[in-house]
């Protein structure tokens, strides 16, 4: 983008659709996935995993396996019990939260299918897997706990006997007088929505390689969080932090699933230490579906009170959140990230939020793209459509009557957050126009009139979310175990080239491209002259990593600040070299010039060389322009937008087809529109997948029946529509770049838009809900007024039909 400023023409990188520098190696196969690395002498690990949802381990016999050719060692949980510690949970949400021990490898008891029980270490993968057959394990089965309501009932079978309950915690947030809001309310809408369990399914399976060197260990892992992982590995194993180096090489997607400290990572480290040789483990997809943490899994009980004109009085939220068998890194906090989002973009007088975390004998849950906010957004956006239907008001109009008007910002919400900026009117108007809303409504009326077997539905989602995690003091007030800052440093090399070091840890987002754009603009150097370094604790020593749409809004701003410091240092040197006072220097396009004497100047590259040579520096100035900065945001950022979805629903077969999808997002200032659009597309795909395709299904015995990609339906190109995306741009006021974050917005917004569209199509048939995923069978049953199926019953899942419940 070329910008004319007075006489000077400068090329502006921020805002320009730079093609990504990351692509070159990815399109040629010159990649550095963890599993691609096999140092000489590497041993391979394979795990025996529990076939039971819940059982006592009475005997593990590894002797036969140890004798197999190529097998170097075999370990049971008992063999490692003294040193393996307990996997960390960094978010103790209440003082009385029940927090069970979580050994990386089970010792006495297994509590979900897939929990590791024993491990073979062999010279190659095939030999390791072969030897698993020779390990003899006796189990004494215990009752599976698969239903949250049943788990909380008196006398329920317990997941953790010693805790005496399946309830981990109850967390409450209340503001305003809910009783007053509910009392004599002209309209009260009560609903129960199920947020089904999802499997994040990054395309790259988890992989870890640990290379020991004397007392030092380098752990390569397919992780989103090299910095947090390093600290947690030190904490769990007692190996001093400075002896550990964690590297996240090329990482093939995460979506929250690699925001974790996994047992296999701890075990790779401990076994590499025991054997003094590199050890590697890469999961199979079937293994991963059982053991990578899952997402969502909530029962939402909601009561909305409103006036006759559609204005909301108050909202009561009662959640049951399935923790699974153990609390992992941020398991208990995930539903709380949604607590402040149930009011959405709307004004109301009262909000009451109660969440109970429940243990079941299932894979633990934790962050999945959006983490708490998609669930909340689904609830409020579905309720807004229900309210519109109840009152016979248009779904857009009922939202207009409730949303915060653009002139009301900054606005303190009923959840206690301060939304800094937004313009819901502008985004909605743009979306309506792109969607041709009136035309589609006319077609809908026509199809209803004609009793067309294929009905048209229109779904609305006017969402916001909180991201840019996070202000450290807010995290502290929520009892989170760490801060939410991010770090960056900038090194100006003697030749004038620039190295940027970031604590963010990309795994597909494109930071190397975008961070170079930010630095190029601030320093006035060519984009090609900037190299971005990340993902290795030896290179990037400080960081809080990548999740929660935080990288740009926190890490990008840290980089911006570090660049400012470089310029400040350079200004002192330039002033000295130009024999001018600092105040008389202008800095533009990478050049310092004396005001009024444009020809007198020094480029930042010349200043960098002078600083390096250090022959002639001003008194007290050290010979370096290098700078670093840590940014801790004052507030969250609040992307918002309006998504409109039109579905064609075949009332004879239950088949749903997305006819049109329009997304207008406001993510503030955009650094790279190409990357932003890509993030929106991918987010939409995952949100739509929750609405239509995906569900992790457990049978009544606690067996996961969707262990493969044949059963767990990741949508293909043929399953998804083309999206129409556009933006409005209301800069955030909480950071100098004006950015908000875009990683999760599409996922958060799209799920309710799709379900609203399906329900809208069927409403004349008396349908007011279809449980997700809205498979043809479920839509068909809903049309026939049949009771909604609950989890672990037919209708859930899909694929090859192996997800049918009792088996």
């Amino acid at each position: 983008m070329t910008v004319q400023e007075g006489d000077a023409v400068t090329t502006q990188e921020v805002g320009s659709p730079r093609k990504r520098s990351e692509d070159a190696r990815l399109i040629t196969g010159r990649t550095r996935w963890t599993d691609n690395m096999t140092p000489a002498g590497t041993l391979h690990m394979a795990f025996v995993r529990s076939p039971h949802a819940h059982a006592r381990i009475t005997r593990v016999d590894t002797s036969q396996a140890k004798g197999r050719p190529g097998v170097v060692a075999v370990f049971s949980g008992a063999d490692l019990a003294e040193e393996q510690g307990s996997l960390p949970c960094a978010w103790v949400v209440t003082e009385d939260m029940k927090h069970p021990e979580h050994p990386p490898m089970a010792v006495n008891e297994v509590r979900y299918v897939g929990e590791p029980v024993a491990c073979v270490v062999a010279r190659d993968k095939y030999a390791a897997v072969d030897a698993l057959e020779e390990i003899d394990i006796d189990y004494e089965p215990l009752p599976a706990v698969v239903d949250m309501d049943a788990a909380l009932a008196d006398g329920a079978d317990l997941v953790h006997e010693d805790l005496g309950t399946n309830k981990s915690y109850t967390w409450v947030f209340e503001n305003g007088d809910l009783d007053a809001a509910m009392r004599d309310a002209p309209v009260v809408i009560e609903r129960e929505y199920i947020q089904q369990r999802l499997i994040p399914t990054a395309m790259e399976p988890r992989s870890v390689l640990c290379v020991p060197e004397d007392e030092d260990y380098t752990l390569y892992s397919a992780t989103q969080i090299p910095h947090i992982l390093r600290l947690m590995l030190a904490t769990v194993t007692g190996i001093p932090e400075h002896r550990l180096r964690v590297v996240a090489p090329d990482v093939g997607g995460g979506f929250g699933s690699k925001l974790q400290v996994y047992g296999e990572e701890v075990l790779a480290l401990l076994i590499a230490r025991r054997l003094g040789r590199p050890v590697k483990w890469t999961e199979s997809r079937s293994e991963g579906n059982m053991t990578v943490h899952h997402g969502r899994d909530q029962i939402q009980r909601l009561t909305l009170a409103a006036e006759r004109d559609g204005r909301i009085r108050g909202l009561k939220v009662n959640l049951l959140a399935d923790m699974g068998a153990y609390l992992m890194l941020v398991t208990p906090g995930i539903p709380l990230l949604g607590a402040f989002m149930f009011n959405g973009i709307y004004k109301m007088d009262a909000l009451s939020f109660t969440c109970t975390g429940v243990f079941t004998t299932k894979t633990p849950t934790d962050a999945y793209r959006g983490a708490g906010r998609p669930e909340a957004t689904f609830a409020i956006e579905r309720l807004m459509d229900e309210l519109a239907a109840e009152l016979g008001i248009d779904a857009i109009e009922v939202r207009r009557r409730n949303w915060i008007a653009h002139e009301e910002f900054p606005y303190e919400t009923i959840a206690g957050l301060t939304y800094d900026t937004g313009n819901y009117e502008a985004a909605t108007d743009k979306a309506l126009e792109l969607f041709e809303y009136d035309k589609l409504r006319a077609e809908q009326a026509d199809r209803r009139e004609r009793q067309d077997p294929v009905q048209l539905g229109i779904g609305v989602s006017t969402f916001t979310e909180m991201c840019g995690l996070a202000p450290s003091r807010v995290l502290g007030s929520l009892s989170y175990g760490a801060g939410g800052w991010e770090h960056a440093s900038v090194r100006v090399l003697p030749s004038g080239k620039v190295e940027v070091v970031t604590g963010s840890s990309p795994h597909g987002q494109g930071h190397a491209t975008a961070w170079a754009q930010i630095a190029a603009d601030r320093l006035g150097v060519p984009w090609e002259d900037v190299k971005v370094l990340h993902g290795d604790t030896a290179i990037s020593p400080k960081g809080m990593d990548t999740y929660g749409s935080r990288s740009l809004a926190v890490g990008g701003v840290a980089l911006y600040s570090a660049c400012e410091k470089v310029v400040d240092k350079a200004r002192k040197v330039a002033a000295h070299l130009l024999e001018a006072s600092e105040q008389d220097l202008d800095f533009s396009g990478g050049r310092f010039s004396v005001r009024g004497v444009q020809q007198e100047g020094k480029t930042i590259q010349e200043v960098a060389l002078a600083a390096f040579a250090a022959h002639d520096l001003p008194e007290g100035i050290e010979p370096s322009l290098d700078s670093d900065a840590t940014f801790d945001p004052e507030n969250f950022s609040f992307p918002h937008g309006t998504h409109l979805c039109a579905t064609e629903v075949d009332t004879e077969t239950g088949m749903v087809k997305i006819r049109k999808y329009v997304a207008v997002d406001d993510v503030g200032t955009v650094v790279n529109p190409l990357i932003v659009e890509g993030q929106v597309h991918g987010g939409l795909a995952q949100g739509i997948a929750q609405a239509l395709y995906e569900e992790a299904v457990y049978d009544t015995e606690g067996n996961l029946t969707t262990t493969t990609m044949a059963d767990y339906l990741i949508p293909s190109a043929a399953d998804l529509p083309a999206f129409t995306t556009d933006r409005t741009e209301t800069p955030a006021t909480s950071n100098p770049l004006g950015v908000k974050g875009v990683g999760e917005a599409g996922t958060i917004a799209s799920t309710p838009a799709v379900v609203n569209a399906i329900v809208d199509a069927l409403r004349p048939h008396g349908v007011n809900d279809v449980q997700m995923p809205c498979t043809p069978e479920r839509v068909w049953r809903a049309l026939r007024g049949e009771a909604k199926p609950r989890a672990a019953e037919p209708g859930a899942g899909g694929g090859l039909g192996s997800a049918g419940g009792d088996q």
């Binding site: 093609k19 990504r20 990351e22 692509d23 070159a24 190696r25 990815l26 399109i27 040629t28 196969g29 010159r30 990649t31 996935w33 599993d35 691609n36 096999t38 190659d124 993968k125 095939y126 399914t201 990054a202 395309m203 790259e204 399976p205 090329d250 990482v251 093939g252 997607g253 979506f255 199979s284 997809r285 079937s286 795994h507 597909g508 987002q509 494109g510 190409l674 990357i675 659009e677 890509g678 993030q679 597309h681 991918g682 987010g683 939409l684 795909a685 995952q686 493969t708 990609m709 044949a710 990741i714 293909s716 190109a717 043929a718 998804l720 083309a722 999206f723």
Partner: protein, 163 residues
Amino acid sequence: MPRIRVEVDGATYEDEVEPRLLLVHYLRERLGKVGTPVGCDTSNCGACTVLMDGMSVKSCSVLAVQADGSDVTTVEGLGIDGTPHPMQRAFHEEHALQCGYCTPGMIMASLDLLRENADPSEEEVRDGLEGNLCRCTGYQNIVKAVRRAAGEMRDPAEQEVTP
């Protein structure tokens, strides 16, 4: 153990392999061709797609012994003359990848798709790539990239595909 002779990306290899060895493991672990990744174990995801005698195969579903006598092309064999293949270029130009894990398979499957249909419509591309999963892009830019590459491969001078 059976002995196989395979040409991979222009070089010839002769090896003794276990009969059960998968082609993708042969490529990755015996030949060091780690550019072809593994994304699942049920042949659903397509990340490991390569061309065998010009036809796309999921190399996790082919035994190394079945590749005996074949000519295998992986993503590493494209553009080895120093010029990126039009399909590789199109994926870059259209921002058709994010994490890039599915990309080698997507590119190889797309080449096979164009072998059968040199000028596919959007719908034909979507249907043709049904066996290759991507979790990052939502496919929209992949579809654009394949159609752009199709245009360039039909007429190397033509730079753009009309939507």
